[in-house]
């Protein structure tokens, strides 16, 4: 069966490359053809950007495209759509919505954003309070979302709302696709401690959403949201950065600028070097295990380890600079950086940006709960909001 799949994937790649040489075809046109050949999300059904085969072929396809001089930038430039929205649409969307959205999403003609977190619902996402009230075939949405990457460029948003405040928090949620150009949608930049705005805040003031734009049943928004979050880790090639790159490169560069005579600092630098390299090897190990279909705990520890180590190392790099560590050469320019800001070459910015690593995508405290409960099998905390109507749960 797997040989069959390989042959089908191989055949489609050859056909695609023959009709649309990756290096010579404009990116959106190539991505459209890639979609039509079923090589966008290879596990999706035929006609919907896939071939209905195992998702593990996708990494090979992406690699082949890059090797042939093509681009897979759409997976980054439209990450909330291609990476997360697509899987959610396939799992919970109507066929009509799937046909309408998937192709222009993949070609990046329509950018997507995710509208989940709120000022009052961060780690406790299910406590969110943006409301959607039904009026016939339309839902009226009011509330505020936050930490919305790409919302200022997006045509569509993945929105989770509260539709029933009288049931426990997880049970009263409903999920929609919202038109970011609709009346009442207000997107504002959210400036971070770096002085840049990678993210937005989005305000909803009586925004109308047709019921046909709902994903999943009314009240099943939590399950749909989980599908979106599970798709967060969809393989985008499985690249592991080379030895010595990333945060540790900042520390090594800073060390090279010193007199290199401080044994304590050298010991610390090397301890970080070792830890960074061990973490990199763990990522390789996790990738191999995932490919074999036997993922172990090494995959679950990666996010937590990376976040905390990145913070420590980027901070240490600033320490090594001495007085220069007090500077911020680029200045706080209140700009909108591109998506790669997390991988900046500027050690001063890297130091500040890293503060978010242990907050975004699950705080380190939550990650430790998850590791403790799901990997180590430890019991959960007693919950005071269980079986209580959302309306009656205390909120700050």
């Amino acid at each position: 069966m797997s040989t069959d799949e390989r042959a089908r994937v191989e055949g489609q790649i050859e056909a695609l490359f023959a009709s649309h040489p990756p290096a010579d075809t404009p990116h959106p046109e190539f991505w459209g053809a890639q979609f039509d050949h079923g090589l966008a999300w290879v596990q999706f059904p035929e006609g919907f950007g896939g071939l209905g085969v195992s998702p593990r072929w996708q990494a090979d396809i992406n690699r082949r495209i890059e090797e042939a001089g093509g681009s897979i930038r759409n997976r980054f430039n439209n990450v909330l759509g291609v990476g997360m929205g697509a899987g959610t649409l396939i799992a919970h969307g109507s066929e009509e919505l799937q046909r309408r959205f998937l192709r222009p999403m993949f070609t990046c003609e329509e950018i997507w954003c995710q509208l989940f977190s709120e000022p009052g619902a961060g780690s406790d996402l299910a406590a969110l309070s943006t409301t959607a009230v039904r009026e016939g075939d339309t839902w009226i949405v009011n509330g505020q979302k936050v930490w919305n990457t790409l919302a200022h460029l997006a045509k569509w948003g993945l929105l989770v709302t509260r539709t029933d405040p009288d049931v426990p928090k997880h049970a009263g949620l409903t999920y929609f696709v919202v038109d970011m150009e609709a009346d009442g949608v207000d997107v504002r930049p959210l400036y971070q401690i770096t002085g840049e705005a990678e993210f937005n805040e989005v305000y909803f003031d009586d925004v109308h959403i047709p019921d046909s734009m709902r994903l999943g049943e009314v009240g099943e928004g939590w399950a749909v949201s989980m599908t979106t979050l599970m798709n967060e880790r969809v393989a985008i090639g499985g690249h592991v950065a080379p030895r010595g790159s990333g945060a540790i490169s900042h520390a090594v560069n800073a060390w090279e600028q010193t007199d290199k005579d401080d044994a304590v600092a050298r010991d610390q630098l090397l301890a970080y070097w070792v830890e960074a390299e061990a973490m990199r090897l763990t990522a390789i190990r996790a990738g191999e295990a995932a490919k074999r279909g036997t993922p172990g705990p090494e995959g679950s520890t990666a996010k937590l380890h990376w976040a905390d180590l990145n913070k420590s190392i980027t901070s240490f790099a600033i320490d090594l600079m001495g007085a220069e560590g007090m500077t911020y050469p680029q200045g706080y320019d209140f700009s909108r950086p591109d998506l790669t800001a997390n991988r900046t070459e500027d050690p001063h910015k890297a130091f500040l940006r890293a503060r978010a690593n242990s907050i975004e995508g699950g705080t380190s405290e939550i990650m430790k709960n998850i590791l403790g409960e799901r990997v180590l099998g430890l019991p959960g905390e007693p919950r005071v909001d269980k079986n209580v109507a959302w309306r009656d749960v205390p909120r700050s």
Partner: protein, 377 residues
């Protein structure tokens, strides 16, 4: 900088080996048995050693032509990891790793024919004496050798020899007028006295060896390879072996503590439900997985014979795994509370093994210094 040539994945054979070892250790490596051996005169579990020999696990890295299994360091690392989980008190590190590597790298073909087949069965136990009395690894060990007619006479003291009292053959580093050489000295040689060092870790005996005019024939000189290189590479193998053992021990002790946190009730709750406890265990798991990556990588670098990568990978593994094992074992005592501080509980056995192995063959600071030198930092 380097290319990984060996996957982290275990082969079917390696998985079978691991499963066989687990069965063996479940029967042989019990806490009761370890404690019994700890209290014995030699501190070695002779019965377990004999059985390991019968399974063919004591000559894993020895080529088949010398009676070994002709496997790689990856298999040997796996044995050390599993043995480390149970603190099995047998001379694996001293004989199957340090001594074997030294003989393979420095002995003549004739000498290998003479000794290695017996080493592979467990009938001949090796030790490596290369540190001075204070346990320092210097180019000038504590023993000197001078020519005496056709043979040699050894004088001086070698310290911190792992399993030095029970070894049948001690590979001894000695300084001569022409530099460092290696000798194979019989454990019962005239003029050799072997005193046990009162050890922090009772599951791994240490000895001081005094050479008072030990006379050796020419056939005792290991003359089949550069002794300095042999010693260096044997120690690198030992360093990586310890790291693998540390990963096994750290995993076992983390599992022990996690199991306790799932059962122990205070304030009407399983203590593992408290984040103060849960988070510490989760942090232990993060450290353990990083340590495992470093140790596995180093074992594979040795197996692949990657001369450039071994110094990097070995220093990395030894410095990281030592600190991780100590942290997890220390947390085990803390999270067990009072019972963790008792002699009857096993937490202290792991804590002591962790601390001792962290210092054995170079502490983390030393290995980071070596790593910095290799990396040019």
């Amino acid at each position: 900088m380097t290319t990984m040539t060996i996957s982290f994945a275990e082969t079917d054979e390696q998985q079978q080996l691991r499963s066989m070892l687990r069965d063996f250790l479940a029967a042989r490596g019990t806490s009761e048995r370890v404690r019994e051996v700890m209290a014995s005169d030699t501190g070695v579990d002779d019965a377990a050693w004999k059985e390991l020999g019968e399974y063919g696990l004591l000559g894993l890295t020895i080529p088949e032509e010398y009676g070994g299994a002709g496997s790689t360091f990856v298999e040997l690392a796996l044995v050390l990891e599993e043995a480390g989980k149970r603190l099995l008190p047998v001379p694996l590190l001293s004989s199957a790793v340090l001594g074997t590597a030294a003989l393979q790298l420095a002995a003549t073909d004739e000498q290998k024919q003479q000794w290695l087949p017996q080493v592979a069965t467990g009938g001949l136990r090796l030790a490596l004496a290369h540190l001075d009395q204070r346990g320092r690894m210097t180019s000038d060990p504590g023993v000197t050798a001078r020519r005496d007619g056709d043979g040699w006479v050894l004088e001086g003291v070698a310290g911190y020899v792992v399993d030095g009292r029970t070894a049948d053959l001690v590979v001894t580093a000695a300084t001569t007028d022409d530099g460092l050489v290696l000798f194979a000295v019989a454990g019962d040689a005239d003029g050799l006295t072997r005193d046990a060092i009162p050890a922090l870790d009772l599951t791994r005996p240490l000895a001081t060896l005094r050479y008072d005019g030990v006379r050796l024939g020419t056939d005792a000189l290991l003359d089949g390879g550069d002794p300095m290189t042999a010693l260096h590479d044997a120690v690198a193998a030992g360093v990586v072996a310890i790291a693998c053992e540390q990963v096994g021990g750290a995993q076992q002790v983390l599992e022990m503590t996690t199991a306790y946190a799932r059962e122990r009730i205070q304030f009407g709750r399983k203590i593992g439900s408290f984040q103060a406890v849960k988070h510490r265990l989760a942090e232990g798991l993060v450290k353990l997985e990083a340590a495992r990556s470093a140790a596995l990588h180093a074992a594979r670098a040795i197996a692949a014979g990657d001369k450039q990568e071994v110094p990097v990978a070995a220093a990395m593994a030894k410095s990281l795994c030592g600190e991780v094992y100590e942290a997890i074992a220390a947390d085990a005592i803390q999270l067990h509370g009072g019972i963790g501080f008792t002699w009857e509980h096993d937490a202290h056995l792991y804590f002591k093994r962790a601390k001792a192995t962290k210092l054995l063959l170079g502490d983390p600071h030393l290995h980071r210094r070596l790593l910095g030198d290799v990396l040019g930092l």
